[in-house]
């Protein structure tokens, strides 16, 4: 259950996107027919994805970290309290795959990614995956390559 690799996919005339078999195979049994897309909390124009189970698990971890185990009742009843898990739910959309493993990318995500022309980069990130605008991913990738080298250089002495 680990999303890997980097694949550029395009939208066809109907707005459909092929979800590569390599990604589909990482969805848990019984949940191969769909997944969840949600927009990034911090990076504009970036869309994240995960299996339903993976997304729910993430929310559970978030809820435990943000509120502590006892406060979940308060989060449901007190609408004034900040509820990060609820926030992410509102930004998430359930995506269903057709029998051929394709899905239609919702309009809002097409706009965020400016995906109509160049398509999107599907990026495996281990426990989740991401949808990037190809050009923006290129920029980010170069930045991350430098950050990675710096990170590794700092590994020895530190600990």
């Amino acid at each position: 259950m680990a999303f890997r690799s980097e694949i550029l996919v395009k939208l066809d005339k109907k707005g459909r996107v092929a979800f590569p078999a390599a990604f589909r195979d990482e969805l848990p049994d019984g949940q191969r027919d769909g997944f969840v897309l949600y927009r990034s909390n911090t990076v504009a124009g970036l869309v994240n994805g995960n299996s339903r189970a993976g997304f729910d698990g993430m929310l559970a971890r978030l809820r435990a970290e943000a509120l502590g185990p006892k406060a979940s009742l308060k989060a449901v009843l007190d609408d004034e309290a900040f509820d990060p898990a609820g926030m992410m739910s509102s930004q998430a959309r359930e995506i269903r795959l057709d029998p051929d493993g394709r899905f239609v990318l919702p309009e809002e995500f097409i706009d965020m990614l400016d995906a109509r022309a160049e398509g999107v980069v599907l990026l495996g990130r281990g426990e989740k995956f991401q949808l990037w605008n190809p050009a923006r991913w290129q920029v980010r990738r170069e930045a991350d390559t430098a950050r990675m080298a710096a990170f590794l250089r700092g590994l020895d002495g530190a600990a």
Copy 2:
């Protein structure tokens, strides 16, 4: 069974509102024909919604976790005692969907939300959903986005 996404819906001339399929699909089997709306306890002009089962489950948790067996028994028998679950029940309205998946928003909620002109934002919050006045949701959303960023910033070093 988790409400997701954010959808703006409008009232037609008859005051009907389309309940999107994405939300209807989250209602439990046998309860697809309606749901419960109830006003927020803490935020003025906000209306919450849930399936009948979800709403009942919430009240059960409220009685069990917040009050305990003795206090909830007292709440049933002693009319002078404060009964939060009973309070919420009295605020709640049962909503029925027509065969096309639409419902009429009761007058009191239209007023609270000032929904006649701009419609309402349907907001999936995971275990429940919310009805917001579009402009007010915009304000809240920006505040929550900032709170989310602050929360994420505090995640790394802290523990």
